[in-house]
């Protein structure tokens, strides 16, 4: 455990000098046990919560994914990998996976680009910079449910804000949330609006860690603004970018409140993503076997995504 490496072992020459430990050394040994003991106690609350709410549920999910446990069954019935074969042959499952991938594509890269752009714009000392930073960050602190309610009103056909705006220009109204081809892009707009500010903060702190001397040197060398960005800023931001991309990807899988609030997966499951599908199976149909199977699949996807990012991007990081 990392804990113990913090504490130094007794120095070699001290032990070699005298086989019998002096009272001084015994006292030091006792103290190091005491410190380890305190360390364990201080870690215990986190360890308890982590075990109860993360480790045990993960193990239980793996266990239940091999069982058939539906509404009305008293005990789970072992069915091996039947849940997995059922899902892989179910067209609805593949539709959900497709929706999830599409939604990630529509949100991860745009929100990162937007966040980076905002950070670049706001990385200067200006009277209004503070105000702009607050206003771009404020969507992040709003609860998603409140955001979803507002956007539902914006998208509402006829009476909603967007339609009123379109009508004032003489354009026809829209039904973005009710068409299977536009519902995911419409939802991703809501999501990007909310997340961009969050990612902007990370990029801002990354930008501010780059020393200004390099910029001065580049300017003296006569580099153009775009070259400065592409050859200097962006590579030095790579650690931040890796971190932000992991956050953005996991969040795009994790945040489904807006789906639950705005469309409930409709029309015809065109806006159901994997986590919402897990919720449906677990808490609407009460099919714990299938819900656990889907959870295991989600877990594996997240692990693959995280490891891919860390292993391929490692070579590109330049540390200061």
């Amino acid at each position: 455990m990392a804990v113990f490496s913090v504490y130094s072992f007794p120095k070699k020459d001290q032990l070699v000098k005298n086989r019998a430990l002096t009272s001084q050394q015994t006292k030091k040994r006792k103290q190091s046990w005491k410190r380890d003991g305190i360390a364990c106690l201080l870690l215990a609350p986190s360890l308890i919560f982590l075990t109860m709410f993360t480790l045990i549920p993960i193990v239980k999910s793996f266990y239940l994914s091999l069982m058939d446990l539906q509404l009305g069954m008293k005990k789970p019935v072992f069915i091996g990998l039947d849940n997995y074969t059922y899902l892989f042959s179910d067209p609805l499952f593949w539709k959900v996976m497709g929706n999830t991938v599409l939604f990630s594509l529509l949100t991860v890269i745009p929100s990162m680009v937007l966040g980076l752009a905002l950070a670049l714009l706001l990385n200067m000392r200006h009277k209004l910079t503070g105000l702009f930073r607050v206003s771009f960050f404020s969507p992040v602190v709003m609860p998603m449910i409140a955001v979803a309610s507002i956007w539902m009103f914006i998208y509402m056909p006829d009476a909603g804000l967007l339609d009123q705006l379109l009508k004032s220009f003489g354009l026809p109204g829209q039904i973005f949330l009710q068409r299977s081809d536009t519902v995911l892009p419409a939802l991703s707009v809501v999501y990007n609006w909310k997340e961009a500010g969050f990612l902007m903060i990370f990029f801002l702190s990354g930008l501010q860690n780059i020393s200004t001397e390099m910029y001065e040197a580049a300017r003296i060398d006569g580099a153009r603004k775009f070259t400065i960005f592409w050859k200097l800023t962006f590579p030095l931001l790579m650690p931040t970018t890796i971190f932000v991309s992991t956050i953005a990807l996991t969040d795009s899988f994790k945040l489904v409140d807006h789906i639950a609030m705005m469309t409930e997966g409709m029309p015809n499951n065109s806006s159901t993503t994997l986590l919402y599908f897990i919720y449906q199976n677990g808490f609407t149909y009460f099919n714990q076997g299938i819900a656990s199977t889907l959870t295991v699949i989600l877990l594996i996807i997240m692990l693959i995504a995280a490891s891919l990012q860390f292993f391929t991007a490692d070579s590109r990081i330049h540390y200061n």
Partner: protein, 451 residues
């Protein structure tokens, strides 16, 4: 500090441990003991927990709490604690979660259609012996058959109807006059519905529709309800969407395909309804604003519409085709399994109290739900109410054509299967026949384990 650093650290660690252990213990200890000493300390007062949903507009929370406190003044040894649990869907989830977490309520109000799921998950008790003990046949036979049908599983009674509803049409009499239609005759059949709606559509100078002919809710949770009515209106011999025992569904009969095509045509061919998935929650507000000439909605909204409409409005039967037909909806009382006999009897007392003819009549008036007992309609309060608000009588008259809405085992899943495929047909991803065939296949697959 007056102690050594290592001792202080040890103390800090212990305090943190105890605090977190305390938090875990406190968080887990949510159960009520369920009994309390009454003020004179003599008998134990039984405290019953009741989950209830609110699905329609109106001050239902206040009314439920008044019901509970009225009951307590007549029965000082029993306290009923009503706990609001969202709309019907939320309530279903909360009840299941509470039952699975072993902290169930003593009684609850839930959809009548949930009875198969509740029986198969062993969550409720049959009420026949409680009925025999207090109420008997006289009590049960007073309930209208259209509503009482929803309480039987395998010949036993599992729930008592309380706030029941049916779907009717509301129409804007002023709009009718404007369109040259007789404001006292709502459309009686599908052909008249189309003809009247076409006259009711109003466009502005730019050609945008400012008033639609008819509005029909199509989202998940509402589509299957109104479609049940259309199915009953068109089926060969009055068959419903499912069998009485909840084990089979009949989605893809030719008559149902015809009915679905009719609804698609309202949007695409006759253009009397906005395209896309029309939302249940939007309809009453839009109707009150004059954006629809006719809407299909629950009787439960009568109080809301009569209070807020600035125009003359009327109510009518759902327009029929081969015959009139309408779905029933709404909530029944259930008693949870696993509570003591004493508590069951206390819960039964409350149910009898709440379902007395006068109280059901009063609930009808206060909320717009339909009283499920025949004798409620003989009470003077009801007769006065019909005098003041004649539109309310339509729901009661339509009851003889009303049948239960889509109710099966695993009903949440079956509803979702039907609604998803219904919507696919409405937005044009599938044809009516493809959608209903697919729904039938998927639903039959899910119901296989109950055959």
């Amino acid at each position: 500090m007056f102690m050594k650093r290592s001792t202080r650290n040890m103390l800090a660690a212990l305090i943190v441990m105890i605090a977190s252990a305390g938090m875990i213990w406190a968080g887990g200890d949510q159960e009520n003991s369920g009994t309390a000493k009454s003020s004179n300390g003599e008998d134990d007062v039984i405290v019953l927990q009741m989950f209830y949903p609110v699905q329609v507009g109106g001050p239902l929370t206040k009314l439920i709490e008044k019901l509970a406190s009225d009951f307590h003044s007549v029965n000082p040894t029993i306290v009923v604690e009503p706990i609001y649990t969202g709309n019907y869907d939320d309530t279903v989830v909360k009840i299941q979660t509470a039952i699975q977490g072993n902290t169930p309520p003593d009684l609850f109000l839930s959809l009548a259609t949930q009875r198969f799921s509740l029986v198969s998950s062993d969550s409720i008790i049959p009420l026949d012996d409680l009925i025999a003990m207090d109420g008997g046949d006289e009590y049960i036979n007073d309930f209208l058959p259209g509503f009482m049908e929803d309480s039987f599983v395998d010949g036993k009674i599992w729930s008592i109807p309380f706030q029941r509803s049916t779907q009717i049409i509301y129409y804007n009499k002023d709009a009718f006059k404007e369109a040259g239609l007789d404001p006292e005759t709502p459309p009686k059949n599908w052909d008249e519905l189309v003809a009247y709606s076409q006259k009711l559509v109003k466009k502005d100078a730019a050609g945008n529709v400012i008033r639609w002919g008819v509005g029909l809710a199509q989202q998940s949770g509402s589509a299957q309800w109104q479609f049940g009515g259309f199915c009953l209106e068109n089926s060969k011999n009055g068959e419903n969407l499912m069998s009485d025992d909840g084990k089979k569904v009949f989605f893809n009969t030719p008559e149902n395909i015809e009915a679905l095509q009719f609804q698609i045509d309202l949007q695409q061919k006759y253009e009397v309804m906005p395209k896309g998935i029309v939302q249940w929650t939007d309809l009453p507000g839009a109707f009150i604003e004059g954006k629809y000439g006719i809407i299909y909605h629950t009787t439960g909204n009568l109080a809301n519409i009569s209070k807020n409409a600035t125009f003359d409005f009327g109510t009518g039967f759902m327009p029929g085709n081969k015959r009139y037909g309408a779905p029933t909806g709404g909530g029944n009382f259930y008693i949870t399994k696993g509570i003591s006999r004493e508590r069951q009897e206390a819960a039964w007392k409350f149910i009898r109290f709440a379902t007395s003819p006068e109280r059901l009549a009063q609930w009808n008036i206060d909320t717009g739900y339909v009283a499920p007992r025949a004798s409620s309609f003989e009470t003077s309060i009801m007769k006065n109410y019909y005098g003041e608000l004649p539109q309310a009588e339509v729901a009661k008259e339509q009851l003889k054509y009303a049948k239960p809405e889509l109710t099966t085992y695993d009903s949440a899943r079956i509803w979702r299967i039907f609604n998803d495929n219904y919507q696919a047909a409405i937005i044009g991803d599938l044809t009516a026949k493809e959608a209903l065939d697919k729904a039938q296949a998927e639903a039959s697959q899910v119901l296989k384990r109950f055959q």
